[in-house]
Symmetry: C2
Subunit: 354 residues, 2 copies
DNA sequence: GATCCAGTCTGTATCGATACAGAGACTAGC
DNA sequence: GCTAGTCTCTGTATCGATACAGACTGGATC
């Protein structure tokens, strides 16, 4: 069938090793013989060393995996994720490495197999929630990884690139609190696993399992605690998924009660845009002046005039990949905290006096 | 170091084969023994069969490659490409397959190696221009592939999913011609390899090497030929890359001559949006009423009111992946032509009377 | 009691390459 | 003329698994 390296060796009358060298270590044989070998290979239609066999023998693959919590298709729907991927891709490309996108479907056994079977040299773990098992699999495989979501049990020497979620969230919440808002709703994706969309009661923010969500909600709460608004007085809203639709669905009916919130702080821009969508759908006369904030500063946020927190998306990906591809000798250098910035736009304003 | 399958076998006191079966063919051994083996494996920290070794022996990898003409990072910059990828990802995910994004950097030797070394079972070839060598490598490797750009030498039995570029382009151009436009510029990415940005003279549309670009430009030309405007009377503009910036740069100075075009037909939405950007940047008094059209109908096109041709992006990716993952028995079914639709919005209007 | 069979498990060959030690040939140097 | 040192090339062991044919066991069948 397909010719192997052996076939080429036989055709030229040299050993397998020499043909291998012709491809992988040109300095190990004379230029003339090398030409003769490559010529014969071309003639036989030999496509070069089989990547799988080569990987097995060499011990590395030449590609890195990117792990997503949610479906693969989701990765391309969230603009922040896309920009992160672009960053990873850029660094990988510069390094001559491919990237394998590993879907983590809902069914754990399947997802587990996907991580176990991924032919990669390491993983960029984008936003793994309580899927601690995935990290266990990666560790068991002995593969390096870089995570982008702070986790409670993450050692300081575990490669990480991300932001101080709590402080960043606090900054935008402080802005909102400073505008006078006291009746406030916090909106996030998957506050609890499998919770329904809409209001949710939780004894404390520490009950939130997902570390990123926890950090952001805690930051929001910090700022309001400072102006005397306790956790129990805040309305907590759950969204089922990270999308505009989910954001809109989560605030359904929220503004129809007697004392509706005057501000909604969302854990991501897409959710916040969903809230704006929901507001825009109401008849013009019945549109409460709600302040809305997001998180990430995706391109659409600027167009929508959304107040948000900017975090460097491409750079996050770029650095994550770089940490993976050539790890710094100094372990501390493997822990990168990126800067964030509060971006104030039109979607927030002083609390109405009524 | 890392335990191998052999180590587990030794620990339990069974043969390698049996351990292998415990993972891959549970029906081949008793449930009790299987539990014992998996238990021992857990205890030893054995992460399951090595994916590379397994791939080598089994003869397939469990992932498909996606090939881009341009940089990997570009793939994430073009919304159409992102949606295509989302479609591929969705189908791959459903099939339990990962997707490998293969960068095709500028330097051909590197790019070639990337294709040769990609550990995949097949390729989705997205938009390969004159990089015929890539297809040669894929064929030499004996891997199946699906292409999305019509190529001249494509046999009818070569798996393909795409649109009738020429007819689709013609439809939008007919619309513009119907509005009375006769002084028209055609704008496309990489009309010729390495051409500078801006006006370009070409003896005929058949000189355009990139098949997609050729198809679209030819379609544009068809429509104008029908109303008596020949190829030589059309202004041809080259863009260096497929981005808003490239689109804006390509029309620099275009509207400052004595008889500027009244319409610009672009080969993609991003280029068209770039043209709109360039127009918006001019002082309000000096803004010629130019009709602009795009191609693809990306989400941003709707927001910008851009007249364009819609082609189903996700579906293109989904079908491409499906053709690759379970090829139809009937070769003719491997040639899919997707529908397109002219979408008229505000960016086109009747030619000004002045 | 011989035959057959299903259910389990083992052994050997194999997938397609690379690493590494070492064998010959050939030039240099003294 | 003999020892070193370079260049080339070869041979064998190995990477870590799976496929497949066959061996063994214990019961059902006639």
């Amino acid at each position: 069938m397909k010719p192997t390296l052996q076939a080429v060796a036989d055709a030229v009358g040299v050993s397998r090793s020499t043909v291998s060298n012709a491809y992988s270590r040109p300095d190990q044989l004379s230029a003339a013989l090398r030409e003769r070998i490559l010529g014969a290979a071309r003639q036989l239609g030999y496509p070069g060393p089989n990547p799988t066999a080569r990987s097995l023998r060499r011990g590395f693959v030449g590609s890195i995996g990117v792990l997503f919590t949610s479906q693969l298709s989701y990765a391309f729907t969230d603009p922040f994720a896309v920009r992160f991927l672009a960053g990873v891709g850029e660094a990988a490309e510069r390094h001559g490495t491919s990237m394998l996108l590993v879907p983590l479907s809902r069914a754990e056994p399947d997802a587990r197999r996907a991580v176990e079977n991924a032919a990669v040299d390491g993983f960029c773990v984008y936003c793994v929630a309580d899927e601690e098992w995935a990290l266990d699999v990666i560790r068991a495989r002995g593969l390096p990884f870089v995570s982008t979501a702070a986790r409670d049990d993450a050692g300081p020497d575990e490669p990480f690139v991300g932001i101080d979620e709590r402080a960043a969230a606090r900054s935008v919440a402080t802005h909102v609190a400073g505008l006078g808002h006291r009746r406030v709703a916090l909106l996030a994706d998957s506050v609890l696993t499998d919770a329904p969309a809409g209001p949710l009661t939780l004894s404390g923010v520490d009950r939130v399992p997902h570390p990123t969500t926890h950090g952001r909600l805690a930051g929001f709460a910090d700022a309001f605690a400072e102006v005397g608004v306790g956790w129990a007085e805040l309305t907590l809203l759950n969204a089922q998924g990270n999308s505009r639709q989910a954001g809109a669905a989560a605030v359904a009916g929220l503004f129809d009660g007697p004392t509706p919130p005057t501000a909604v702080l969302a854990g991501s821009d897409v959710l916040a845009l969903g809230v704006l969508d929901a507001l825009a759908e109401r008849p013009a006369g019945d549109r409460p002046p709600v302040s809305v904030t997001g998180f990430d500063d995706i391109p659409e946020a600027a167009a929508a005039g959304l107040t948000t927190v900017r975090q460097p998306a491409e750079e996050k990906g770029r650095i994550a990949a770089k940490l993976l591809l050539d790890p710094p000798a100094d372990a501390a250098a493997g822990h990168v905290l990126l800067p964030t910035a509060l971006v104030v736009r039109d979607s927030t304003g002083p609390v109405p006096r009524s």
